[in-house]
């Protein structure tokens, strides 16, 4: 199966659908996008993830044609898109507010783009019917936008933006207005529709879980730059910086000085405590400062000192966050550092082995933690 894996970004021969080359966008003195160069490939579901104001929406609006880059070049299928106005681009966008036309029915909303294209009436009928079926909105064709629910509006907006069969579909926080449960269902629906239509999707979101669920690749952005763009699992397991590690999921960051040892480094993080060890490919000089990032679920928690593990430290439980299926223990080390460790609640709460103030041993494997130099 491995040769069937969809990874065009690792294939040097693959031709990108979209390429950004040294793109910078400034609004006055504010730099929204800072000299970005990257590629997005056909059939990808690419997520732009970041806090508000990081430039993700600007990136998308430049693709849609509502903003033009100050410097650099964006091409779509090999063609520079800067001179092409939004109405002539093979790109459609699903707006955050859905932007359904309130004076038109669901049917006419979906048909809007096709009519502007000058498609024949019976071809429009067929295409709209197909879109209504795809989004399971057949029954609501004659309703006006104010007569349908939020989830239904979201589906109509999706149908409308897919109707013209764009090369690229842009989704601006498409699920932002839905409640948590509907949101999860819709995420899978989106992936399904993306696979069925084969369209390239770019989604903008600030919800990391959403990005991880739907995307083939996630680009984590900050201050107008893509810090890391990679598959969800690599973003989570192999973040390239403290920013990415901290932005995605829960993590404990331990700062220390490194000394080379075996095929990794020992990290001296506190006076009087034994150094921690992590395998790493980084080449760091003896004594430089670095950060160790450890995910809570990769830490085991025990009453006795584990005999085999190289990374084992003792601490006292300071806080317990009970999440039902899991509990997150906040363990304070003798030097005051708090380490988060997670354990599955495979026994009833009353039989939980640890409680507040208990002394416990935390341990993890040599590969569990990631060493980061910035």
């Amino acid at each position: 199966m491995s040769d069937l894996k969809f990874e065009p970004w690792n294939d040097p021969k693959a031709v990108p659908l979209i390429s950004f080359r040294n793109v910078t966008k400034r609004f006055g003195d504010f730099i929204a996008i800072d000299n970005q160069t990257f590629d997005i490939f056909e059939h990808e579901f690419f997520a732009l993830l970041g806090p508000s104001g990081c430039g993700k929406t600007t990136m998308m609006r430049m693709l849609a044609g509502f903003e033009t880059p100050t410097e650099g070049k964006i091409s779509l299928a090999g063609q520079d898109i800067a001179p092409i106005p939004p109405n002539k681009r093979a790109v459609n966008m699903m707006f955050q507010s859905y932007a359904l036309f309130p004076h038109l029915t669901v049917w006419n909303n979906i048909a809007f783009g096709l009519k502007r294209e000058g498609m024949a009436p019976d071809a429009i009928d067929a295409r709209v019917a197909e879109m209504l079926k795809l989004t399971r909105m057949e029954k609501f064709a004659s309703r006006k936008p104010h007569q349908i629910s939020g989830g239904q509006k979201q589906r109509v907006a999706l149908a409308r933006s897919l109707a013209k069969a764009p090369k690229l579909l842009l989704l601006d926080e498409p699920l932002g207005a839905l409640d948590a449960k509907l949101r999860q269902e819709t995420q899978f629906e989106l992936v399904d529709i993306q696979e069925k239509t084969g369209t390239t999707f770019i989604i903008v979101t600030h919800d990391q879980e959403e990005a991880m669920t739907v995307a083939t690749r996630v680009a984590v952005m900050d201050h107008g730059q893509i810090i890391q763009a990679d598959t969800p699992d690599r973003i989570y397991e192999m973040p390239n910086s403290v920013y990415v590690a901290d932005f995605i999921g829960d993590v404990t960051i331990i700062k220390g000085r490194v000394s080379p040892s075996d095929d990794g480094y020992e990290i001296h993080h506190a006076e009087g405590l034994p150094p921690l060890f992590a395998k790493s490919n980084l080449s760091l000089k003896n004594g430089t400062g670095a950060y160790l990032a450890i995910r809570p679920e990769k830490i085991s928690i025990a009453a006795e000192q584990p005999s085999s593990a190289r990374n084992a430290i003792k601490g006292a439980i300071q806080d317990i966050a009970y999440l039902g299926n899991l509990s997150t223990y906040h363990v304070e080390l003798p030097n005051g550092t708090i380490v988060k460790a997670q354990a599955t609640n495979n026994r009833r709460l009353a039989n939980r082995p640890f409680t507040w103030e208990d002394e416990v041993w935390l341990s993890w494997t040599d590969t569990a933690a990631v060493l980061l130099d910035h």
């Binding site: 849609a64 939004p86 109405n87 966008m93 036309f101 309130p102 809007f112 783009g113 939020g150």
Partner: protein, 271 residues
């Protein structure tokens, strides 16, 4: 507030009497059989009959209606364009100055507007007639349209236009197919407002009208100087009727639009 206290009932009655008593008296006397305006001599529609025979009044009425239709249409087009530009163009140099200048004629004394228009028409050698009245009325009613339309445009979700462009509309088409249908209630009530303003304007029309074209308010004003005839009461009653219908429908149209928007918003929130 189901029961009015005697105090509020009295003040309400006094207020309305103050506003409407003169008009009610006028309407009542328009049905007076007597030739003497202030002496009641029984009910009659005689003066309405005579009014229809009066060529001068009918001509003036015809001029007034043509002026009102033409000037309110022109004012609606120009006022909508101005509102659209001011709301949409974003921050350009002098934007505040321009919006101030659009609204200034609202508070400008009519005498000054009339006089300055008269000077302009004389200056450029334009013969005064129906055309100059239309221009003058367009000038002063345009800012009213602009106020009504821009109030609606401010609340208009910009992404709707972007969505239209994204789906293949050139900017003008986006306006034609999306923006205009949505702001239509405001545009229509702007037109009705301009129409009523033009219909009952006396001051500006007297400055800009020529011997060839006399509007109804001018005609009424000049005949009153020779003494009030019951015919004028009849005519005024008709005018009051037209203006009332215009104002009520303008406010109904914009109110219905507002209620519908509110319902849509609430439905969207519930969803």
């Amino acid at each position: 507030m189901k029961h009015l206290t005697w105090f509020s009932a009295t003040s309400l009655a006094l207020g309305f009497a103050f506003l409407y008593l003169p008009m009610i008296i006028l309407v009542i006397y328009s049905f007076n059989a007597s030739k003497l305006v202030t002496v009641w001599a029984g009910f009659s529609t005689r003066w309405y009959g005579e009014l229809i025979q009066n060529e001068a009044f009918l001509d003036a009425a015809w001029v007034t209606i043509r002026v009102a239709v033409a000037s309110s249409t022109l004012a609606t087009i120009l006022g909508t364009m101005a509102a659209y530009t001011l709301v949409r163009a974003g921050r350009f140099t002098g934007r505040t100055l321009f919006s101030g200048m659009i609204y200034a004629p609202l508070v400008m004394p009519e005498v000054i507007t009339g006089l300055s228009l008269l000077l302009l028409f004389i200056g450029i050698g334009l013969d005064r007639g129906i055309f100059t009245i239309i221009l003058a009325h367009t000038t002063f009613s345009m800012c009213f349209v602009s106020v009504v339309v821009s109030a609606r445009l401010v609340a208009f979700d910009r992404s709707l236009e972007e969505a239209a462009m994204d789906l293949g509309c050139a900017p003008m088409e986006a306006f034609r197919f999306v923006t205009l249908p949505i702001i239509a209630p405001a545009v229509i009530s702007g037109w009705l407002l301009a129409f009523t303003l033009s219909l009952d304007d006396l001051v500006i029309a007297s400055f800009t009208a020529g011997p060839s074209a006399t509007t109804l308010p001018i005609k009424i004003w000049s005949s009153i100087r020779l003494g009030v005839s019951p015919e004028i009461n009849a005519l005024s009653t008709i005018l009051i009727g037209i203006v009332t219908v215009g104002v009520i429908s303008a406010s109904l149209i914009s109110k219905r639009g507002a209620i519908r928007r509110q319902n849509e918003e609430q439905a969207a929130l519930r969803a």
